[in-house]
């Protein structure tokens, strides 16, 4: 009997030892399975119910999605997101590329400049938003600065102007993220072998041609990565808007992420907020899945 027990314990240890790696993996897989996949599925399910304050589990069909796309606030959110994403992308990428190319010209104090360009990335969007809110406020900020300098008719009231407030979010967002694009492109440019540039120069290509015709086309993966990351940041942008405008004036700067949390936690529209969350999820998936696919292919090709 005792022998049998010992043998059993022994085989158990054997089994443990053999499966130890999988056992160590289990918590991570379990947590992600539950908290990511399980939760997304739950949200998906709830988006098909008529949940108000509390989740209900009877299916209701696409009612929430119909309500969502009929909501003026949601349409403004989507509109704002498109405007913001377009401008945010263009400015971040253009500024990032200019800075990367200029820094690549054997600049003195390159390290200092690079540090300055990138430090906003270390700050939270709340800190950024607080600072820009102060700078952009019409009574004591930039507007007052120019008036005091003698430009008496100078107005810069974008922050409190319905039509223009969305652009203040672009200013602050670009300020925070352009340096990051610079870092990506600088790393990309530095990884190109000197020989290629030298050869082009011997063939008589000017600096402009070298960049425009040779180096930038080689940066396609960097463009792609920057694009994906910036779109991802912009779809999820929430903190910056909360800190800078809280979606105002009125609802002129509201965005999907803000819509979602307000519907869920302030307006008792759980079903509707779940539907908006799923729309965001699908938007991100549409960008990320091709990206992951191409990354994996590149890795496998290596």
């Amino acid at each position: 009997m005792a022998f049998f027990l010992i043998k059993k314990i022994f085989t158990m240890f054997k089994w443990l030892e053999k499966n130890l790696p999988k056992i160590v993996m289990a918590p991570a897989v379990g947590l992600i399975g539950w908290f990511v996949y399980g939760f997304v599925l739950w949200t998906l399910y709830i988006s098909f119910t008529n949940s108000k304050i509390l989740p209900k589990y009877e299916l209701w069909g696409f009612g929430q999605y119909e309500k969502l796309w009929a909501s003026r606030k949601w349409l403004i959110s989507v509109d704002n997101l498109l405007v913001f994403t377009a401008l945010f992308l263009i400015f971040c990428i253009v500024i990032g590329i200019i800075l990367a190319i200029f820094l690549d010209q054997k600049i003195r104090a390159e390290g200092v400049l690079r540090t300055i360009y990138l430090y906003p990335m270390a700050l939270s969007f709340i800190v950024t938003g607080t600072a820009w809110k102060w700078i952009l406020n019409p009574t004591l900020g930039i507007q007052k600065m120019f008036i005091d300098w003698g430009f008496e008719n100078f107005t810069f009231d974008w922050l409190v102007n319905r039509e223009m407030a969305i652009y203040t979010i672009v200013i602050a967002g670009v300020w925070q993220s352009a340096g990051f694009v610079m870092a990506l492109f600088l790393a990309g440019l530095r990884s190109v072998e000197d020989e290629i540039v030298k050869a082009a120069k011997i063939d008589g290509a000017g600096l402009f041609t070298v960049y425009w015709k040779i180096l930038l086309p080689m940066m396609r993966p960097v463009f792609f990565t920057s694009f994906v990351i910036l779109v991802h940041i912009s779809i999820k942008s929430y903190d910056l808007i909360v800190a800078l405008t809280q979606g105002g004036p009125g609802i002129s700067t509201t965005m999907p992420a803000l819509f979602m949390t307000q519907a869920a936690f302030h307006k008792s529209q759980v079903g509707l907020s779940a539907a908006s969350a799923m729309m965001m999820f699908m938007a991100v998936a549409a960008v990320i899945i091709p990206y992951l696919y191409s990354e994996l292919r590149r890795e496998n090709a290596r």
Binding site: V24, M25, P27, A28, L31, I32, G33, F35, V36, G38, W42, T43, I46, P55, I98, L99, F102, I107, T115, I116, Y117, L118, Y119, A122, L123, S124, F125, I126, V127, T130, A131, W134, I135, L140, G141, M145, D148, W175, G179, A183, I202, V228, I229, H232, I233, I235, K236, D239, V242, A243, Q246, A257, T261, A264, F265, S273, A277, M280, F281, I288
Partner: protein, 301 residues
């Protein structure tokens, strides 16, 4: 290299191109410095504003240098004015954030190191799929998990607590920490591990004796990344906590938005600097590692 032409016209040309070069150089520096001032401007404004009195703020402009270095607003931002109700200040929330960041960074880094180790050195059938399964967690918009997370924290009895936020940040940090460690360990030669296995070393012994001693760089990258992400988080903090359990970013936002009689911009700016200083210090001290983390895990918004 090019032949050495001696004709005078070439010399002229060379002279001319030298001038354009000098001009271009100046242009280059001009643009670079212009952008540097755009990037430094808000930080400068924050610092000088925090050192002014409200009277000075009304009289001067954004750029005016403060008449004296006055740290009163910093003291108010950090410790309050000392009267009871409505006196909000950052000190307790700063400690909330520390209490949240330290365990969350530790747990997520540890779990990431373990999963990264298994995925590269104890490979099993279908491990790429497991990696992809975890990796996908980097990309989800967190709005898609907010509702069930709020309910789960409520069921577990840890909503509106630092413990709850530690759990949330640990879980949603795992995809990133796994990615970091997996990509690092994949470049460590597997022969080392195989040899140790033949010598009879077990799973944990190999990790602690072989992998861990060479992991310093990736641990630094991961810890910095996780620290910055969790310290700067607002979405989870504002959704799952309020009042006394709130982390510093939430408290900063509440302070700035609170509509008490007079808006004290100097205190606002001092608060913003206090909330931003820990991550700024990390960035200045370990910029290289910061950037490395940024470029490999930056898909998080």
């Amino acid at each position: 290299m090019q032949d050495n032409y001696q004709s005078s016209s070439y010399k002229e040309l060379e002279q001319k191109s030298k001038y354009t070069n000098i001009f271009l150089r100046w242009f280059l520096y001009f643009i670079l410095i212009l952008f540097a001032s755009y990037f430094i401007f808000p930080l400068y404004v924050m610092v000088v504003t925090s050192l002014k009195t409200m009277e000075e703020i009304r009289q001067g402009t954004l750029l005016t240098w403060p008449s004296s270095l006055n740290f009163d607003s910093w003291l108010v931002a950090w410790g309050g004015r000392g009267y009871g109700a409505g006196d909000t200040f950052l000190r307790p929330y700063f400690w909330n954030s520390i209490k949240m960041v330290v365990p969350a960074v530790f747990f997520s880094t540890f779990i990431g190191a373990m999963t990264g180790y298994v995925l590269t050195k104890w490979r099993f059938k279908g491990d790429q799929w497991v990696f992809l399964f975890l990796l996908f967690g980097c990309f989800i918009p967190f709005q898609a998990i907010l509702l069930p997370m709020a309910r789960t924290l409520g069921t577990l009895g840890i909503s509106n607590s630092v413990v709850g936020l530690v759990l949330v940040h640990t879980v949603y940090g795992i995809p990133f920490t796994t990615l970091f460690f997996r990509n690092y360990y994949i470049s460590v030669p597997t022969e080392l591990v195989k040899a140790a296995r033949i010598d009879g070393a077990g799973f944990f012994k190999i990790f602690f004796k072989i992998l861990l001693p060479i992991s310093a760089p990736i641990i630094v990258v991961t810890v910095i990344w996780q620290f910055t992400q969790i310290w700067n988080d607002f979405l989870f903090g504002s959704t799952f906590s309020f009042g006394e359990a709130a982390p510093i970013q939430v408290a900063l936002n509440n302070m700035v938005l609170s509509s008490t009689s007079v808006k004290e911009y100097n205190v606002d700016m001092a608060s913003a600097i206090i909330a931003g200083i820990p991550t700024l210090i990390v960035y200045v001290l370990a910029g290289k590692y910061f950037i490395r983390g940024l470029t490999s895990g930056a898909v998080k918004g």
